[in-house]
Every structure is written in C-alpha cells, then in structure tokens.
Subunit: 454 residues, 2 copies
C-alpha cells in the first residue's frame, strides 16, 4: 500500500491546517532553537508555577514576524467581506483547509469504484464526522439516485408485502441518534505488521453521525411481519454491488435498527446511501446497506456472498469464524499520531476516539510509556451508546522517546486487547475485526511513528 | 421583507427534497383523489387495526408509475458508479437537494455583506446543523482569514498580556460540547404581526454545532488575569464590524465560555469565524465574537455601540432594557410548518426544535387546537444543556383546520410564553428576544400558514 498522503501533521494538530510543507522546515528549525517553547511555559504558569521570562514581556507584543493584525487594523478590518448565502447558499470549508481530505490508499484495490477512502482522523475534533469527510467503502462505486423514483419494499415472511415511496417513509414516526459506523476491515493492514504511517490509514474507516430515520421494526409491523418465524432479515441495496446482508431480528426488535434518510441534520450524502440506508448500531459497516431498496424477512441466515466468502475471520486452526458482526471495543489516539511532529518539549493535549459496538465506553486509559503505566483520560460529553466518544488527557513531554497508547473499556467490562492478546486468539491471518491497542512512537526528533510492540 | 424562497414544502418534509414545483400540482391533485392515503392506512395497521384494501394486495406490487427499480435491476445496478474520494476528497450533498439552502431575505438589510441568511429548519433533522447550512449574520461580510497569520491577544487586568498563535492555542487542553447559537434578533419580524411565511424566515437564525476549543478561563489564568477586579471581558474580532461585546466574568468562571476553533468535527467555517471564535453558551449570537483576536479584562461593562444602541429591548414604558444576553426557553414546530402542504388526512410525525439559554429542556408540549389541549412530545436523546433538543409527536390529521403549536419548559421551570403573555411584559416595539409560542394553521386544503392568535 503506497500512502500518497501529503506530509501529515508537522505540528500537533495544527500542521495540516496552518503550515505548508515548505513552512514546516523553518518552524521545526525554530523549535530546535527554543523559540516556540512558549506553551510549555504557559502551561507551567497555569499549573501555578512562575511565568517564564519569555512570557513576562509586559504589554501586548507584536506577534511573530511583525504581523500587524493585532496592533493596527488588519486588511480584514478596513474592507468589506463576502456576502451572506455565498456559494449558492451552501457553505464550504476554508481554502486553508484544503489538506484536510478523505483519501484513497492507492494500490489497496484495483479500481477506485471498488475501494476505500479514509477519514482524516488526525485533523478532526469532537465526535461528529463532517459528512464531506466521512469514510467511504464502495464495492461498485457510488450513485446519486433520484429519490422521487426510489422505492423501499418489505417482503418475505410478512402478511402484506409493501412498497414505500420516500415521501411515505418520511411521514412515519422518526428518531434521531448518534452512532459510529466502522468498516469491519478498519485497521486490517495492521494485522501482520506496521503497514501504513498515519492514523488516517490505520483507523480512518470509522466515522460518527447523527442519523434520523424510522425504526425498521415499525415498518416490519406495518407489513405484518412474522416476528416468531422471522429470525432474520435480508437487506438489499439498489446499486450493483450485491451487498446483501443478514440482520438478526433480535437487533431489530430492540428498536435500534433504522431505515435512515437523515445524517448530521441533512439528507444522507450520495456516498453514504442517499436517499435511504440501513443503520445497524454497533455492527460492522457492510451491514449498513446503502441505497436500501428491500428487506426480506426470513427464518435463517442468508449466507450471501459477502457472508460466505468475505467478512469472515480466518482463525489459527484454519476454520473461518462467520457472522462476527459486532464491532468490539476499540480506541485510538489521533493526536499525537503517526506522521505528526512535536515541535518542542512541554505541554500537549493528547486526544483520541473510543467506541464499542456493545454499548457505552466506560473509560479510556492512556499510556505514554508503552503500556507500563496508565492514566485515566477525561471523556467529553455526551457519552452515548454505540457512538464515538472523544477523550482528552494532559501530557508534558520531556523530549525523550515515548510510546503513546490508549486502551478503552466498555460498559460490559470488556477491555481493548493488546496485539499480543488479540493474536493469541485470532492468529495473524485475519483481515477483519482488528481492535488491538495502537502504539505511536514519539522519537527524540519529535517525529511520531506507527509501531507495534512485540 | 420579500420572501424569495421557492415554494417550500408541499409534502411533509419530502417536498423540498423530492418534488420539483411542477410535480407538486400533480401529486397534490392525486392526493385529492385519494391515491396517497396509503400511510394513514398503514399507521392504522400499526395501531392494530385491519389493513386497508389498498394495502392487502398480496405480493410485491410494482411501484407507482410502474417504476422498475424494484422488480428488475435498476440503471444503478448494472453500471459502475463514481469513485471514492470524488470532488477533491470533500463530499457534497446530492444534486436533488439543491433546494435545501440557507437564504437571505431580500430587503431585510441594504447590503448582502451586512445581512442575514436563514437556516432551512423545515428541511433539517436531529439537532446538528450542517455547517454549510448554518445561519449567518454578518455586519461587514465574512472573510477567509489566513490562520498562520492570526493572533489572539489577552490584555487589560492581567499580570502578563499574551499573544497566541493558532498552533499554540491548539496545543492547550481542549473540550468538545454541543451548543445552540441563536441571534438575538431571531423571530424579530414577528413582534408586531405575521411577517414571513416559513419557519426558515421566522426561526432560521438558530443553529447547533459541536464546538471544540479551549475554555477561556484557562487562557485568562495563563495571562494571570485578576479574577477579583476583573468582572467583565471585552471580546474583539479581526474584521471590520467592530462587534465588540462585554462578557460577564461569571459566565467565564463556569468554564463554559470557549475560545473555539472546531465546529462539527472540522475547523470553523469562514462564515462562522474561522479560525477562532468565542462560544458563549446560552447567550445571544452577537456575543459569540467571530475572527476573535483579543479579549480584554475589565472591571465594568464596556457599553460598546452594539450594547448601547443595538441589541437592546424597548419596553412599553419607553425605557431600554440593556444586557439581556441570555436566550430564554423557546421552541418551534418545523414540520408541518408554513409553506408546506399536507397531501391528505391521516398520520403525520410532528417534529420540531426546543432550546434554552439557561440549561436543559425539560419538556415540550404540543397542541393541534391552538393551545386548548396539549400533549407531551417525545424528546430525542441526547438532551444537553444549552443545546438544541429535537422533539417528535404523533398526529392523525382529520382534514379539518388545525393550529399547531409547541411550548417548551426548561429545567429552571420557565415556560415559553404565548404572544399575549410576552407582549404584556415587553410591548410590541421590540426587535430582539422574541421567544413566544409559534402557531401554524393547517387549512382544509392542507396548506400550512403562519398565524398569530390574538
């Protein structure tokens, strides 16, 4: 896998936003000269220590490089800006954020229509994934389907097979809920070794949105589904990928499975199944069938091609584990992470994401010494079931090599495993369902690397 | 105020998404002929009644108009779709969602740089406002400021005035929180009468995002702010609007006020203050200073132009009420709402938004008879402090005129007032802080109108 990603993260968080590659070297050099240990001192001050000499310079100082923004009116202050409702009434990110993009990993698949683009986790905040940066996994490319022509059918073990238009579905009782979606193959390339340099490529097939839709159970009841004989449903999309998937009725009865049209406040994006997709909280993404056009109620699993050939786990004894749908508890530090560079010693906010397909995240512990010592991270609210959870923790880097890890525990008590623990059960020949603890090595130079501990 | 908005909402929710204006007349005519009372029957079935004849047609029926999507492979199923990471790696809404736009109200202001664009609440789901549809209020236009040059200064009653770069701010301890922002002038034009037809224009100056940033108190502590003498701070932006605002220190001490750079997972959008804005939860939007470049700690309110001339409430006795910053508890039904048309009798999901600047929404009650009878709506989780809350409630329309209202109560016990109650205290000459109960009249024709009850 060739990572074509531009240099990712030279300063903590900021780099992709604020420094072009040419500027990085300069700043990095400045850091070595101690010009930017400002914040370390600052944080010491916050903790009650004496302010450093560098900070106690009295009145407002001109900013670095003599930028006049602060002391004299800037170019922005003396002109007239742009109008409201620019861009045809739909706003876009800053031009300075051009480097924050979802990215394909060239060579991972043979065509860009049956491929993956990864979300830039290293540049994201909080738990909402911007819909424009949501990861993609298509098996036959994506479509912008005409919703006026879209139909959704329910058949199989039902009293009255039904066909719905979008208008009809959107009149029904709806719910809105935050959930993560993770491809079963997220972190796949890390099974055997350290394959990719950045968190975008190691963990970027997870995203989180607020979904709005109709509980599937409501629709099944309308169709008079046989909820005794009907132990499973088959979900089918309207594209050519034939990604039919079996969903256990037990999940549907809980009311959690949605026939969704809304995502992050607006209609689903085309790449995410517009106008209708299945939302199966906690379950791997392949089951969240896009362009949903049909569910069929049946009495046994359907063993479709992507259940009988793909999305299975090859175990050490040579057998295949099938229907391992639930995404187990997992976490990853997104900053500092591979490809980023710490400019100097001192204070950093370590931040990352945790999630569990079995409920809420109960706690996240962070180690900066490769797992010998752990400290409890602060979880940002709200902590929701089967949603991403953002964690933050303070760290003062002493400039020596450090190995940063996070370890999540969910409300069932399940603890995210080390690679050693995971491989003991699963071997090394799997593709799917790798939820091991990720390690990032901070080198003395400040450069952060993807490593695995033996 | 001339509303240039295209016909908004002919079917409940769906219209803007799925029907072009030309198609509306046809469908509406069909509704009159009873062709689309499908869902009413369907909901009756869900409630345990007998399925209607129309539904009990046996096996999968061809969809309306003979659309072959369902029974034979569609055009989408036999071709190859578009590639991952299209559009330069930043995805966009469907072409069929072109009508879901934030919109200026022509005539409201004299230039489009000192104006408003309203969020299309009638088309939004859940609580997250897509950043591209977030309402705008600019006093001097918006800028896409270079974050590498941006500086943030703290001065006034501090031990050591400080200047931060963006890189420095983004290394500090951060938090992520969901909050609404509402312009103090939201619903302003409704003070005297029914001025605009749709919820986009009556209530579209409210939005909700997940914000990420550094608590302002952290930064003030770094600068050694005098938290005894310093009872207020002045916040100043880097544009030409001179929108300086006084923020009470009490709000800052709570830790809620943020110096924010993140919004809905990515960097703030330029229209929303990129790269840095103040987040003042519960307080009117004008205090959330965009392009934030400075806060000054002081010992008294600053009485800036927008505190001494604008954003004040003219009371019935001729005095002006100043510094009424907190946005009181408020709600609005977004569907059905003005400009939409109900196609037929039967089941509808009434949905809307509620919020309070003083904490969480405790309950929302909905009336369909102009306030004589109320039923408790279902609140979607999570219900968060100073955030939008989505509510939903079932309704079966009998085809007679109906007046739909929502009334929110917050955790302090404050109940959203009627227009009569509000005017009794506030008179009719205000511009700001109108949180009265909104009424939507559903006419026999199905058309929904903005009305005020005397």
């Amino acid at each position: 896998m060739n990572a074509d990603q531009p240099p990712s993260g030279r300063l903590i968080k900021a780099p992709e936003h604020f420094l072009d590659p040419a500027g990085v070297a300069t700043v990095f050099q400045q850091a070595k000269q101690g010009r930017r240990d400002f914040i370390r001192s600052a944080f010491a001050a916050a903790a009650g220590a004496t302010a450093s000499a560098a900070m106690a310079q009295g009145n407002p100082v001109p900013s670095e490089g003599g930028d006049p923004n602060i002391l004299v009116p800037s170019e922005y202050a003396t002109g007239l800006g742009q109008a409201v409702a620019s861009g045809d009434g739909y706003g876009m990110p800053s031009q300075f954020e051009r480097n924050v993009r979802r990215r394909q990993s060239p060579g991972l698949t043979q065509t860009a229509q049956a491929s993956v683009s990864f979300a830039p986790l290293q540049s994201l905040f909080g738990i909402v994934t911007p819909s424009g940066l949501h990861f993609e996994r298509h098996h036959q490319g994506w479509w912008d389907m005409d919703p006026a022509k879209h139909r959704f059918m329910i058949n199989g073990l039902v009293n009255k097979p039904m066909v719905f238009t979008m208008d009809e579905i959107m009149r029904l009782p709806s719910v809105s809920r935050f959930h993560f979606i993770e491809c079963g193959a997220n972190t796949a390339v890390e099974w055997g070794n350290v394959a990719v340099p950045t968190v975008q490529y190691t963990h970027g097939m997870v995203s989180c949105s607020e979904f709005t839709g109709v509980p599937l159970i409501t629709l099944l009841q309308l169709a008079g589904a046989d909820l005794k004989k009907g132990k499973f449903v088959l979900a089918e999309g309207n594209d050519g990928s034939s990604m039919t998937r079996t969903i256990p009725m037990s999940l549907i009865l809980s009311g959690e499975v949605l026939v969704a049209y809304g995502q992050n406040g607006e209609m689903l994006r085309p790449e995410n199944g517009y106008p209708l997709r299945l939302v199966v909280p906690g379950v791997q993404g392949v089951s969240w069938v896009k362009y949903l056009r049909r569910v069929e109620v049946g009495d046994m699993p359907y063993a479709t091609k992507d259940e009988a050939v793909h999305y299975m786990d090859l175990m050490p004894d040579g057998t295949h584990r099938q229907y391992t749908n639930i995404q187990e508890c997992k976490s990853v530090v997104t900053t500092p992470s591979g490809g980023q560079v710490l400019l100097d010693k001192g204070y950093y906010n370590i931040t990352g994401l945790a999630w569990s397909g079995r409920g809420k995240v109960r706690q996240v512990d962070v180690s900066v010494d490769g797992g010998r010592n752990w400290r409890r991270a602060r979880l940002e609210n709200p902590v929701m079931s089967k949603s991403l959870t953002r964690f933050n923790i303070d760290w003062v880097w002493d400039g020596k090599p450090a190995i940063i890890q996070s370890r999540a525990t969910d409300e069932t008590g399940y603890v995210q495993p080390t690679y050693q623990q995971l491989r003991k059960v699963r071997g090394t020949r799997s593709i799917y369902h790798n939820n091991a603890i990720q390690s990032w090595l901070v080198q003395e130079s400040g450069e952060v690397k993807n490593v695995q501990l033996s």
